[in-house]
């Protein structure tokens, strides 16, 4: 499709500006010319062209509302429409972040209740709702860990990270100046306890554990893991991106986690927006509460207020108070589901994943054949060996069947990984059809591998030259 710039024509506009009702003053008399720009090179289009451009762009995009989106580790569940509607109420959208608390009692009450409910669900002493996404939550958590040790007068350099961890974990550690050390997984996909015991010294600030991990497997030895970490004075950090697996079934706080970040845009059904916004609340155990970022909400009777008076705080990780409207959606979701709904969500998410695992394991290599949680991870190795068809080929071929492909080539410890997270909002019929498509593709990989390698066949563009894109990056359009 043509770029919006290519549709531009001097003199057009889609949005007009009211005439001034106050005196117009020659700009140069107010602002010296050296501060002023000459040209302003923005596209000029009429409203109809603008609307067609973005409407037609949207029609080249695939969302959960169009079909199954089993992107592993991303929890692409259905985003209930009512939450969108409620968060869009002008009462919520139009308030300035510095509105006096007297204007914002509804918002403050909502945020405060949300913190409490998350505390109940996850067994953490307190939550902050400020981080803007999961990785931002990780950063916030690691900052708190750092501050915690500084406050104790300890200087710990290391953070342990399992080889199955998401890339944000080591990156967040590094962004706080920690050195990260990779912890091996054992044969059943869990933490290698011996390796942990070996690595876990008093130089280790924390173990960042995702549980269930990115293989979709629950850490059976979690008690031992926590013990090993805590014995050496370390902290146990929980990446809560996979929380959809255990709502109401267990609580990270009870399992021994000291810090946990959530991804509201995964577990709590807020849409992902084509890449964000998300929201990454961080919950902490009692010993870390003092280090939470400011501002925090304080309740006085029936009134709520912002407070910054927490001397041990790590400070701020963003301006203002968090991705408020995302939180509104997640709050509406939690209230809709209630305890029973949350439990059922996790139960059905786990059931769906196990169902897929069982239906597909005859057709694809299953590296860890045990009960999984909310996602299951296959390997495409067999297909590579048999016919040179790679995981990426099969993923692209799924597009032809009307599905968004699963996450591929992650976690890194599974070669040719295919990571499928169905979520609880998908029906048996959808899973069956998807499994049938996967099986058909496995067969095709044998019978007609070229067809798979050439996929996708029906998209507006076929496979794109990523090497060219990286070698000669074109990230900003220039008029030819």
């Amino acid at each position: 499709m043509e770029l919006i710039f290519e549709k531009s024509k001097t003199g057009r506009c889609a949005a007009d500006v009211p005439r001034s009702d106050v005196p117009e003053i020659a700009l140069e008399t107010l602002i010296d010319a050296k501060y002023l720009r000459d040209d302003l090179d923005l596209p000029e289009v009429s409203e109809i062209d603008l609307v067609r451009h973005y409407t037609n762009l949207s029609r080249r995009n695939f969302g959960v509302d169009m079909g199954f989106y089993p992107l592993g580790s991303c929890t692409m569940k259905y985003n209930p429409k009512v939450n969108e509607t409620l968060a869009a109420q002008p009462e919520f959208t139009s308030l300035h972040p510095y509105a006096p608390d007297s204007f914002a009692q509804g918002n403050l009450q909502l945020l405060h209740t949300m913190q409490r409910l998350l505390g109940n669900i996850f067994g953490m002493a307190e939550f902050t709702l400020q981080p803007a996404a999961g990785a931002h939550g990780e950063l916030t958590g690691v900052m708190m860990i750092k501050k915690y040790f500084e406050h104790k007068g300890e200087k710990r350099r290391l953070i342990l990270i399992p080889d199955t961890a998401h890339g944000t974990n080591p990156a967040s550690g590094a962004l706080c100046g920690f050195e990260t050390v990779t912890l091996r997984s054992n044969a059943e996909g869990g933490v290698d306890l011996d390796h942990l015991a070996e690595l876990m010294t008093e130089d280790v600030a924390a173990l960042m554990l995702t549980n269930p991990n990115t293989l979709g497997l629950f850490e059976r030895n979690i008690e031992k893991v926590a013990q090993l970490v805590h014995e050496k004075g370390g902290l146990l950090y929980g990446d809560g991106a996979n929380a959809n697996a255990f709502l109401g079934k267990t609580r990270p706080g009870d399992l021994g986690f000291d810090v946990i970040q959530l991804n509201l845009h995964k577990t709590f059904s807020t849409p992902h927006g084509g890449g964000g916004p998300g929201s990454g609340p961080v919950g902490v155990s009692a010993k870390l509460v003092d280090f939470l970022p400011i501002p925090r909400i304080v309740r006085k009777g029936q009134e709520f207020h912002w407070s910054e008076n927490f001397p041990l705080t790590i400070g701020r990780v963003r301006a203002f108070y968090g991705n408020f409207s995302v939180i509104v959606k997640a709050y509406a979701y939690i209230r809709s589901l209630g305890a029973e709904g949350l439990i059922r969500a996790s139960e059905m998410a786990v059931l769906n994943a196990n169902y897929i695992k069982e239906r597909l394991k005859a057709h694809f290599e299953l590296p860890y054949d045990r009960v999984c949680m909310h996602e299951c991870v296959f390997s495409g190795r067999r297909q590579v060996a048999e016919s040179g068809v790679h995981t990426t080929d099969m993923a692209k071929r799924l597009i032809d069947f009307g599905y968004h492909p699963p996450t591929i080539y992650f976690p890194l410890i599974v070669p040719e990984a295919i990571m499928i997270e169905p979520t609880e909002t998908e029906s048996k019929e959808t899973l069956d059809r998807f499994c049938n498509a996967m099986i058909a593709i496995a067969r095709e990989a044998k019978d007609n591998p070229q067809k798979v390698k050439d996929a996708p066949h029906y998209t507006p563009v076929s496979r794109l030259d990523e090497v060219l894109a990286a070698r000669k990056p074109d990230v900003c359009w220039k008029k030819p």
């Binding site: 770029l3 500006v17 009702d21 700009l27 107010l30 720009r37 923005l42 000029e44 762009l57 949207s58 995009n61 695939f62 969302g63 959960v64 992107l71 969108e84 409620l86 009462e91 308030l95 972040p97 510095y98 204007f103 914002a104 509804g106 009450q109 669900i121 803007a132 996404a133 931002h136 690691v142 998401h166 890339g167 706080c176 850490e219 008690e223 267990t250 845009h265 084509g274 890449g275 964000g276 400070g315 701020r316 203002f320 995302v326 209630g338 305890a339 029973e340 709904g341 949350l342 059922r344 139960e347 009960v371 597009i399 076929s462 794109l464 990286a470 990056p473 990230v475 900003c476 359009w477």
Partner: protein
């Protein structure tokens, strides 16, 4: 209401196929002692109608301001209706990050266009697909400059938004970098000599905002000169992005990075978020910058198309060596910004002028009140600082009329006693201003 479509028969079938007797068994990896009996203290499930009623009630506990005269980093602008209609297309907002390019040409192209608009607006070569917000964008730029230059001190103008300074501080602290403030001059601007003197060879970058927190424009070109003279980089921020409709972009003044809050571009105030971190850079830093990048390439048949590119910078590939830990960003807010800017086009200049006129009028009216004084002489955009006999009393009076008044500066700037930072955008009408003055008389 839960959103699980499973009937009892479905569940039974699926359990059978999964080879387990009861759903409970699927959770057998969780040690018994940690199995939860019930989630404590949870309100009961609600029907959709009840949820809607609840959220309406909560919303009604807020007080809807008649008028907002606070800016201070978040700006009340009119958002053309198209923005919401288009951002509300389910294909956009129910998609994940565009990992599968063939299914994501829509958002990828839109982001590529957004990047181009940001580069053009800021006068830079490239811009990324978005950061969390203006403050974290600034903080990431600061950390990046320290890494690039192998220097470990950063200078930040005291005229930068106080919360931004705190965020930059938190990121610096976590990395062991030092952060030092640069004072502002009596005009409300930085003084390039002071800056020059303050830069030593440990200084990685100078950080400023223009318009700055007081609404004043900085002489970016001069400061950039000072920085360059001492081998330091310049990170230039901005407050209200609509200022870029008239203000010379920092990129043209020699900045190495331009960062700022993009909320003004079509995103509602939303009590603080989601907002939009703008991050633009010189071409030479392209492979060092944080965040996603949409790039243009061709498909097998030579048709142009778009992909996420230079992913080897990112955490999911480079892990602890990544340029940042950012993963989810604010794509939908960036989309809104792109639509907003495409809707206005060159009218952004008109809009910016209108903001200037409104602020000038408000200021001139306020200064006619007894005891009110202008504070800074530097040229400004739609915000300005005034002192008055009793800042708190002023805001309380306005509050009574449903008006959110000026931002009180004293808590952040003890040196600016009884000073208020006012903002007037196109939403403030002459009759509002005249009324405000009557209220305050």
């Amino acid at each position: 209401m839960d959103y699980c479509p499973h009937t009892q028969a479905d569940t039974a079938d699926m359990l059978l196929q999964a080879g387990v007797g009861r759903v409970e068994e699927l959770f057998s990896d969780i040690p018994d002692k940690f199995r939860l009996k019930k989630i404590p203290d949870m309100p009961p499930a609600l029907s959709e109608q009840e949820t809607a009623a609840l959220l309406k009630t909560i919303g009604a506990r807020n007080r809807q301001p008649r008028l907002t005269l606070t800016g201070a980093g978040a700006y009340a602008h009119y958002i053309p209706a198209v923005v919401g209609h288009l951002v509300g297309r389910a294909e956009f907002y129910t998609a994940y990050t565009p990992y599968q390019a063939e299914l994501s040409q829509g958002i990828l192209q839109a982001i590529y266009e957004y990047q181009t608009m940001m580069a053009r607006l800021t006068g830079m070569d490239v811009a990324n697909a978005s950061m969390y917000d203006g403050a974290s964008a600034m903080a990431e730029a600061a950390v990046l400059c320290a890494r690039i230059s192998n220097r470990n001190k950063l200078l930040i103008a005291r005229s930068v938004h106080p919360e931004y300074r705190e965020v930059v501080g938190a990121y610096c602290r976590a990395n062991g970098y030092e952060l030092e403030e640069i004072p502002f001059g009596t005009a409300g601007q930085l003084d390039s000599f002071t800056v020059l003197n303050q830069i030593d060879d440990t200084v990685a970058a100078v950080i400023l905002q223009s318009p700055n927190f007081f609404g004043c424009l900085e002489d970016v070109e001069q400061i950039a000169g000072s920085a360059r003279a001492k081998g330091a980089l310049l990170i230039a921020g901005f407050t209200d992005g609509t200022a870029l409709g008239i203000v010379k972009p920092a990129g043209e003044c020699g900045a190495d990075f331009v960062v700022g809050e993009g909320q003004s571009f079509g995103n509602p105030l939303n009590y603080g978020g989601p907002y939009l971190g703008v991050f633009a850079a010189r071409e030479k830093y392209l492979r060092r910058i944080p965040g996603r990048l949409a790039g243009r390439t061709v498909d097998k048949n030579g048709r142009p198309g778009y992909v996420l590119t230079l992913q080897t910078r990112e955490q999911h590939i480079r892990r602890e060596k990544a340029t940042s830990n950012i993963c989810s960003n604010e794509a939908l807010c960036a989309l809104a910004a792109g639509i907003y800017l495409a809707a206005l086009g060159k009218n952004l200049r008109k809009l910016a002028l209108l903001n200037v006129y409104k602020a000038q009028y408000l200021k001139s009216k306020l200064l006619q009140l007894p005891g009110w004084k202008d504070v800074f002489s530097a040229p400004g955009y739609n915000e300005f600082v005034v002192t008055c006999p009793d800042a708190q009393a002023v805001n309380e009076k306005l509050e009574q009329e449903g008006i959110i008044g000026g931002y009180e500066l004293a808590p952040d700037y003890p040196e600016l006693e009884s000073a208020l930072l006012f903002c007037a955008t196109e939403l403030v009408l002459k009759e509002d201003i005249d009324q405000i003055v009557r209220i305050l008389k």
